[in-house]
Assembly symmetry: C2
Homo-oligomer: 284 residues x 2
């Protein structure tokens, strides 16, 4: 992947320049969203906006102006090949600040919208290999669930393996519970029942995780959100990971442990393809 | 405080522009140092450089070029009033990256050196008021001790109080141990013995903390670095906090609890004033 976005807007202006005193850089003081763009439209826009606003609210950052973000995205996608998929990354920081940690309540947030090429990701059909990382996520209920810019844990975990065939690393927390992947959420299937880790102490509550929970309940599946032990990871009948770009990836191996691409996972994959969640906010 | 530095160099160039794909902004993927500048010289330069390099090493970022940093600082301080104190902030990020968490081993780190005015800080003589924050630090041994750019915990903790008379907030960890202040390290005195929290699971190992430990041992004081319970905080005979800008501040109150400015704290304060730690690396 390139270290340059195809196009960037910072506060609506075509520049790729963020001042060194922006609190996003000084402290990771902000939130972000990574959004799939297909047929010229950002997928799950309403859900991404809702999580972004939740993140801003939790951090005490002024609510993002969704109309401005929408204009930014429109402006970036105007000239791209509509049939090609892209990735839109939105970053909202608390804005320029002073040197100290104390947030300035008058700070004007910085709005960064980047257009990226679609990454080379395997299709979900075949399933992917995963590894269990040794890094353990720290607990912080105040920051759990939101997609904030403090991502050193993910960076360190992603540094643990080099084998390009391994597509995701799974993360335990300090208490030894399994939480998520470095860039995805995790689901386990036990005798047809769906389980996903509780994210109230750490982890990122993904858009597709929410959709999977919603769709599974609609299908009458038993769904539980709870603490999941490391041992359960190796007892599950099926495992899958999900995020906004990959959709659902069946996990066919976790280190030396093997899993089938089972019926619950493949069923949810096909339901997700048809799931239309663009009902609100986005107008092309 | 202003949201603009007096002067800034990014990779040695006089610009205040960091690209939006810098991993410092994307993930807080980097480290920083905040250095007191007095009489045109950065105080404790050698120790700051040592911690910076430790941080880079822990994160797998290429070692910083200390000669370049020295040149940057020289260039920034050349025209400032030598008798006035300033603050130098150094940020080293992993550099421009791609959208994913995986570090590019070929990444070229970004070097940001900022010159700031000296902040309005109370002198240490009178002592300061502190509060106990409700935010609890998460554990992550891989990141503990280093001064990395993931500082949302400090930002959130510093948001907890508004009273300008309260100069510092003290932080417990998830296990209920007292760890540090939002911007300082903490020492407790019990019957003349010095205790400071163990920082192997969270916290920042400050330059002045190290110097205090060193000086105290030289003076024949009993010194221990260990887990400290919340209860001990209220049983201590003396409390003080320290960092590179404030030196040592006696804590005279923690919420409704009061402490004297005791002999151990004031003794260490006067020893610190005379402590010269500029032996290595810095040439004016």
């Amino acid at each position: 992947m390139s270290s340059q976005a195809l196009k960037v807007l910072v506060n609506g202006r075509a520049t790729d320049c963020v001042p060194g005193m922006d609190r996003g850089l000084l402290f990771g003081d902000g939130v972000f969203e990574t959004i799939a763009l297909a047929d010229g439209k950002p997928r799950y826009w309403g859900r991404h906006m809702a999580r972004l606003q939740t993140g801003c609210h939790r951090l005490g950052i002024a609510q993002a102006d969704e109309q401005q973000l929408l204009q930014d995205v429109h402006s970036l996608v105007r000239d791209v090949e509509q049939s090609a998929r892209h990735v839109v990354k939105i970053i909202i920081t608390r804005g320029p600040g002073s040197r100290g940690y104390r947030p300035d309540t008058a700070a004007k947030p910085t709005r960064i919208v980047q257009l990226h090429p679609w990454p080379g990701l395997p299709a979900g059909e075949e399933g992917v290999r995963a590894t269990l990382c040794s890094l353990r996520l720290g607990h912080n209920p105040l920051l759990a669930g939101i997609k904030h810019l403090n991502r050193l844990e993910q960076v360190m975990a992603r540094s643990e393996w080099d084998n390009a065939d391994i597509r995701e690393g799974l993360l335990l927390d300090q208490a030894g519970h399994i939480i998520e992947g470095t860039m995805s959420n995790l689901f386990l299937v036990f005798k047809g029942d769906l389980v996903t880790p509780d994210l109230s102490r750490c982890g990122v509550a993904g858009i597709v995780r929410d959709i999977v929970l919603h769709v599974a309940e609609q299908q009458g599946l038993s769904v539980s959100v709870r603490d999941v032990s490391k041992a359960e990871l190796f007892q599950a009948d099926e495992l899958f990971v999900c995020n906004s770009l990959i959709g659902i990836w069946p996990v066919v191996s976790l280190d030396s442990n093997r899993y089938p691409r089972g019926p619950v996972t493949t069923g949810l994959q096909s339901l997700l393809v048809d799931h239309d969640d663009n009902s609100h906010s986005w107008r092309s």
